[in-house]
């Protein structure tokens, strides 16, 4: 099913093999396999309810896996706790601007460093404030008082400050102004150039593909296609996935 045989430069960082996930009895991910290489920008595309978030949650250890192997830089993390997974360098930004509303913006950011520095690592704050000036202005404000989009930016900042080897972004564009979406994706690209691998789930297909090195297509809990952005765009698979019935 893989289309391209493109050269994917670096070593394999995240390797997901034959992942199955179920909510209660209902299985929603049926044997998904995909890879993220070091320093690579990978996009996961698919319609609503295709199971993308479910896969990501399973990778981060937030929900149990029914079957399958997940390795990070060669180490098996399939059974690890979320804490250990974060420590191994996988940080996920959840969809739907989930921040800790009662805490200040700065405390939210510090919590992003908690897994590695249990007393909080203030030295990284400045970098985040430079990337997202709107957060700097509001560093003492309670996060719940931010607007929806500002909360989303904070959530991304919270992920970035953890300085992961693999940053997972689940629909970061939700509720963001077009111009901010571009900025966030640019930031992700820059981080990627700096060596951080990115795994992005996005509904805005074109914008996502513009930044991506590699792309997977999902449908009803399966990976139904993969390739470089140009390969994907030149095939009709993308159309079929979004209109349904790509089997």
């Amino acid at each position: 099913m893989h289309m391209g045989t493109v050269n994917r430069p670096n070593q394999i960082l995240l390797d997901v093999a034959d992942l199955h996930v179920a909510y209660g009895k209902a299985e929603v991910v049926h044997g998904a396999s995909f890879r993220v290489h070091g320093g690579e920008f990978v996009v996961l595309l698919g319609r609503n309810g295709a199971g993308k978030s479910t896969m990501l949650h399973a990778i981060s250890g937030l929900i149990p896996k029914k079957a399958g192997r997940v390795t990070m830089a060669g180490a098996e993390i399939g059974a690890a706790t979320p804490r250990d997974i974060v420590r191994s360098g996988v940080v996920q930004v959840l969809e739907g601007h989930r921040v800790f509303g009662g805490l200040s913006v700065e405390d939210n950011l510090l919590l992003g460093t908690y897994a590695r520095a249990s007393r909080g690592d203030r030295s990284k704050l400045d970098r985040i404030y430079a990337l997202f000036p709107e957060l700097a202005e509001r560093r003492t404000q309670q996060a719940s008082r931010l607007s929806g989009g500002q909360q989303q930016i904070l959530a991304v900042g919270q992920g970035v400050i953890g300085d992961p080897r693999l940053l997972i972004l689940d629909e970061p564009s939700g509720g963001l102004a077009p111009i901010v979406i571009d900025r966030i994706l640019d930031v992700a690209s820059d981080l990627c150039k700096g060596g951080m691998a990115i795994l992005l789930v996005e509904q805005l297909v074109e914008k996502a593909l513009r930044h991506a090195d590699y792309c997977y297509l999902t449908e009803t809990g399966r990976i139904v296609g993969a390739g470089t952005p140009s390969e994907i765009q030149s095939s009709d698979l993308l159309q079929r996935v979004y209109l349904g019935g790509a089997h």
């Binding site: 609503n48 929806g148 939700g174 509720g175 111009i179 901010v180 979004y242």
Partner: protein, 251 residues
């Protein structure tokens, strides 16, 4: 013509000025877009119009009648409905019951009348049920009428919230990011619904970041930035306005 007006309203939270001197006129039979960068005060304006916040300065008027001081629960009575960024439904009730809840303000039967099931209570119930069923079929939820609302997926919840607002006989319906998390196909459905509402004479306020959607359905668009209005015009004009491009749309 009926109008819902925010007249030079200002709203501050502590040191933050969320809105300053913003005016907006929502007319019946019109779709009015409200866009702007994150934190520019769109939700705040919507909250002022629906009574969740009180204005610091300026006034809210419905058909010329001042409304600024009336509480949230009063707005549905005068025909103002809203939806939420995160849908607020009653998960344990059926879709139909959720929609019928919108008819609260019209129900005249009091507690005792209801408890004793007097004729008026029963009559109102029947009428409301018919109306809610029609509207649910109209927004496309006819197949799920007896389903528990907690079993709906995201898009269905959005549409149910709209149906609830319509059961309310809203003259104005204010939608907070209704297209968020919807697929292209669902957005098309949404567009057709919103357009139908306009054609039926309802005034729709659309707070949205999905700009293609906004520009395609809106009659007029207001743009906010940092709590101020920077452009108010037709979609085409707003879209090509350099200031709007600079702060919001991007290149």
């Amino acid at each position: 013509m009926s109008t819902l007006v925010a007249d030079t309203v200002s709203k501050r939270f502590g040191g933050v000025t969320a809105l300053s001197n913003v005016s907006l006129e929502l007319r019946e039979g019109e779709i009015h877009g409200l866009i702007g960068p994150n934190g520019s005060g769109k939700t705040t304006l919507l909250n002022l119009l629906t009574g969740y916040y009180q204005v610091d300065e300026g006034d809210i008027r419905l058909d010329g009648e001042p409304l600024a001081r009336s509480p949230v629960q009063q707005r549905p009575r005068v025909g103002i409905a809203r939806t939420f960024q995160k849908p607020r439904l009653l998960g344990s009730l059926s879709v139909l019951d959720n929609a019928m809840l919108g008819g609260w303000c019209e129900t005249r039967a009091g507690f005792l009348e209801t408890a004793l099931a007097l004729p008026r209570a029963r009559r109102e119930e029947r009428a409301l049920r018919d109306r809610a069923e029609e509207l649910l079929h109209g927004v496309g939820l006819g197949y799920a009428i007896h389903r528990r609302a907690s079993l709906l997926d995201h898009a269905e919840q959005r549409f149910l919230e709209i149906a609830r607002g319509l059961v309310m006989r809203a003259r104005f319906i204010l939608l907070d990011e209704p297209a968020g998390g919807l697929t292209e196909g669902e957005i098309e459905h949404l567009a057709s619904i919103v357009t139908a509402l306009r054609d039926a004479g309802i005034g729709v306020l659309l707070v949205e970041h999905h700009t293609d959607f906004v520009f395609s359905v809106c009659d007029r668009v207001t743009t906010l930035n940092l709590g101020r209005m920077i452009k108010h015009a037709t979609p085409a004009e707003v879209r090509s306005d350099p200031e709007v491009i600079r702060v919001y749309l991007g290149a």
